[in-house]
Structure formats: structure tokens, C-alpha cells
């Protein structure tokens, strides 16, 4: 146990390092900050809510920077796409925060927030899961026919629709190999930023599917590009929280000591898998986070009296981090086995790069 003087709590160092490491792996792999996992975990460890948000945001900024540098080396960042989207994201976040303040004044913020996050996360899970399963099946067929499915395959027709919008100026994103109206990118930034600002999260779990399914970027590029956004939004959030005195730097340092290794591993792990594998992990993370939010919603709606709901929310938060981390680690293990010509399950073959 370590006494965190600024936060005024005692918590085990090993747990903070564990959370930093696991969320680092997941964040580097699917391009999210992981606030929806870290903040509830820190609250469970005894940190006050505002302190949990501040610590989370500050560690996300540091971890995001490391992941971004790794993804840059892997060629997964489209700077044109990232910089064009930032303007829309900032506007969206500001709008989202204002709507949140309005609901706070009505005294409905807690329930509306949880309900919105349940609906958004569950809808994204459904779409991502259905589309990814379809892509996975097509890749399996190509694999059986002895043809290389390539690094990416996605079956949604939405990118074609959005790329055909003829509003000038048209932007050519060379790394992402996408030609699309600038207004589409800005609009995606505004909408995802709005949801992020309203829900009080970094928004990676909304932006990555939006970049894949609306803009038409490949999953690897969406992950790398989104991490650039996270460095900016996380950096700004860290600064704001630090000014308000919501950050315990010792807790941040312990989390970062795990996260820096995890984030590098997660980022490098993307080079072992094809696009649908990343989207699978993203959709699993969404459904588990949805269950967590449902538990918390039920806990709030029952007047915070049903203790087992709180207990299950704790288990779900810790279990989710471990599950996603194990899935990513095992995909890398399978990819290495497949490369060496050893046995791997049939469903894994189209998901990993051999």
C-alpha cells in the first residue's frame, strides 16, 4: 500500500502498474485512451471521482504520446486526416460540454450520461461486430481458396457513400489512401467530439469506427490517426485538470510505468494482425464497457443500495481489462506460431499476418 498524499488515499502500487500495463496494451492496439476502463477502476481503488478523471487524463496524454510515436514508426498515421479532424473535434467537444452543463442544470446529467453511453456503445458494438464477422468470413473464404486476403478487408458500403459527397475542398489523404471532402472529415470530428465532450471521455472508441466506416481509412491507419487526436485532447485535459489540482502525480507515475511498456507492446502488436482482428477487440471492448455502464446505471436507478450491482461492476471493470489484454497477447502468440508453420485454429488464420 502507498499513501497518495494529494489524493488522500492509500492504494496498492502493483494494482496501479497492472491497470496501466493492461490498458496500455489495449489502448495501443485499438487506438483508445481507455478512460472508460481506467476511471471506474481508480474509483474502485478509492480515488475520488474528480481525482480519478484527472489522473486518468494525465496518464492518457503520456501513454498516447508513446503509442503515437510507435504507430508513426509503423506508418499508421495520416497527418492530413488527423490535423483536419482536430478542428472539428475541438468544436464538437465544446458543444458536447455545453449540452452536458444544460443537463446538469436540469439535474439529469448522471442518468442521461449513462443512458447515452449505453446506447452509443451498444450500437457501435452491434455494427462493428456484424461487419467484422462478415469481413472475417470473406477472409476465411479467400484463405481457403489459397488467395492472400491482404492486410485489410471491410465490407461496409458507408465509406463509398461519404467519399462520393462532392463538397469542395476535396482532401487527398495519401497514407490512408482516401480522397474525401474536407467537410466529411470535419463533420466526423464534430460528431465524435460532441459525443466525447458530452460523455466526458477521450472518444477513441467512437472515432476509430467513424474513421473506418465513414471516412474509409484502414483500421491500422484509424488507430494511429486517432492516437494523434488523443495526444492533443489528453494533453489539454491533463493541463486543465492539473490547474484545478485534480492530479496526483505519484499515481500517474506508477500507472505510466506500466502503461509505457503496455502501450509499446499494444502498438507493435498491430503489425502482427489484419484489420478485422483490431475491430474484433474494439467491439469486445465496447460490449464489456456497455455491460459495465448498465451495471452502474442499475446501481444509480436503485438508489445506490443494491451492493451486488456495485460488486459486479468492479469485477467487470477488472475482468474486461484482463480479457482484452489476454486476447491481444494470444493473437500475437498465434501469429508467431502461424509464421513458424505450427498449428493455429482455423478462425485465427485470416486474422493474423503470416
Amino acid at each position: 500500500m502507498f499513501d497518495f498524499a494529494i489524493a488522500g488515499v492509500s492504494a496498492p502500487i502493483s494494482l496501479l502498474v497492472f491497470v496501466g500495463f493492461t490498458v496500455g496494451i489495449v489502448g495501443g492496439f485499438i487506438g483508445v485512451g481507455g478512460g472508460y476502463m481506467v476511471t471506474p477502476a481508480l474509483i474502485v481503488f478509492g480515488f475520488p471521482g474528480y481525482m480519478a478523471s484527472g489522473i486518468d487524463m494525465t496518464h492518457i496524454a503520456g501513454k498516447g504520446l508513446v503509442s503515437t510515436m510507435r504507430h508513426r514508426q509503423l506508418g499508421n498515421i495520416d497527418w492530413t486526416l488527423a490535423l483536419t479532424m482536430i478542428a472539428g473535434t475541438m468544436l464538437g467537444v465544446e458543444l458536447g460540454v455545453r449540452v452536458l452543463v444544460y443537463f446538469k442544470q436540469l439535474g439529469l446529467a448522471g442518468i442521461v450520461l449513462l443512458l447515452t453511453s449505453v446506447v452509443v456503445m451498444f450500437s457501435l458494438f452491434l455494427y462493428t461486430q456484424i461487419e467484422t464477422r462478415r469481413s472475417h468470413r470473406q477472409m476465411q473464404e479467400l484463405n481457403k481458396a489459397g488467395r492472400d486476403p491482404g492486410r485489410e478487408l471491410q465490407t461496409s458500403s458507408l465509406p463509398r457513400l461519404f467519399q462520393s459527397i462532392p463538397l469542395r475542398p476535396i482532401v487527398r489523404c495519401r497514407t490512408a489512401r482516401v480522397v474525401v471532402s474536407m467537410w466529411v472529415i470535419v463533420l466526423v470530428g464534430v460528431v465524435t467530439g460532441f459525443l466525447a465532450g458530452f460523455l466526458g471521455v477521450g472518444g477513441g472508441f467512437i472515432r476509430v469506427p467513424a474513421l473506418v466506416y465513414l471516412v474509409g481509412a484502414s483500421t491500422h491507419i484509424a488507430v494511429g490517426t486517432d492516437l494523434v487526436e488523443i495526444v492533443f485532447s489528453g494533453g489539454y485535459g491533463a493541463l486543465r485538470h492539473s490547474i484545478e489540482g485534480h492530479v496526483d502525480m505519484m499515481a500517474v507515475l506508477f500507472m505510466l510505468s506500466g502503461a509505457l511498456f503496455g502501450a509499446q507492446f499494444g502498438s507493435i502488436a498491430t503489425s502482427y494482425v489484419r484489420g478485422p482482428a483490431i475491430r474484433y477487440i474494439l467491439s469486445y471492448s465496447l460490449i464489456l464497457a456497455t455491460f459495465g455502464a448498465v451495471m452502474r446505471l442499475a446501481y444509480v436507478l436503485t438508489g445506490q443500495k443494491v451492493e451486488w450491482l456495485s460488486f459486479f461492476a468492479v469485477m467487470l471493470t477488472l475482468g474486461e481489462m484482463t480479457f482484452l489484454c489476454l486476447f491481444i497477447l494470444s493473437l500475437v502468440w498465434f501469429a508467431r506460431r502461424h509464421k513458424r508453420g505450427e498449428w493455429v485454429p482455423d478462425w485465427v488464420k485470416p486474422l493474423v499476418i503470416s
Binding site: V314, G319, L326, E342, W343
Partner: protein
């Protein structure tokens, strides 16, 4: 161990259950979920019992 067992085309006794579980994505999902919630329960038992 036979050549078939070694390269995985034929499963030996203990390996067969694991391989059967691994060969379906949902089976693997459940396998990992069980381990993960076991780890979560252990963490709860060791560090968080009484404080949550």
C-alpha cells in the same frame, strides 16, 4: 508423440480438449473470459476485499 501430434493435425489426449476449445472463436472467448474473471476475483480477494 507422433508426427501428427507434433504439428497439431492430430490431437493427443490432454491436448484435444484445449484444441477443441480453441478451434471455435466463441469457445476461445468463453475460455479467456473465465480466466479473466478468475484474475479479477483474485485481485478483488487479495487487494480490494472490505474496501469496496
Amino acid at each position: 508423440m507422433t508426427a501428427g501430434e507434433k504439428d497439431g493435425t492430430v490431437a493427443s489426449g490432454n491436448n484435444s480438449l484445449v484444441k477443441r476449445m480453441l478451434s471455435s472463436m466463441w469457445g476461445y472467448w468463453m475460455f479467456l473470459l473465465t480466466i479473466s474473471f478468475g484474475v479479477a476475483a483474485a485481485i478483488y480477494w487479495i487487494w480490494l476485499r472490505g474496501s469496496v
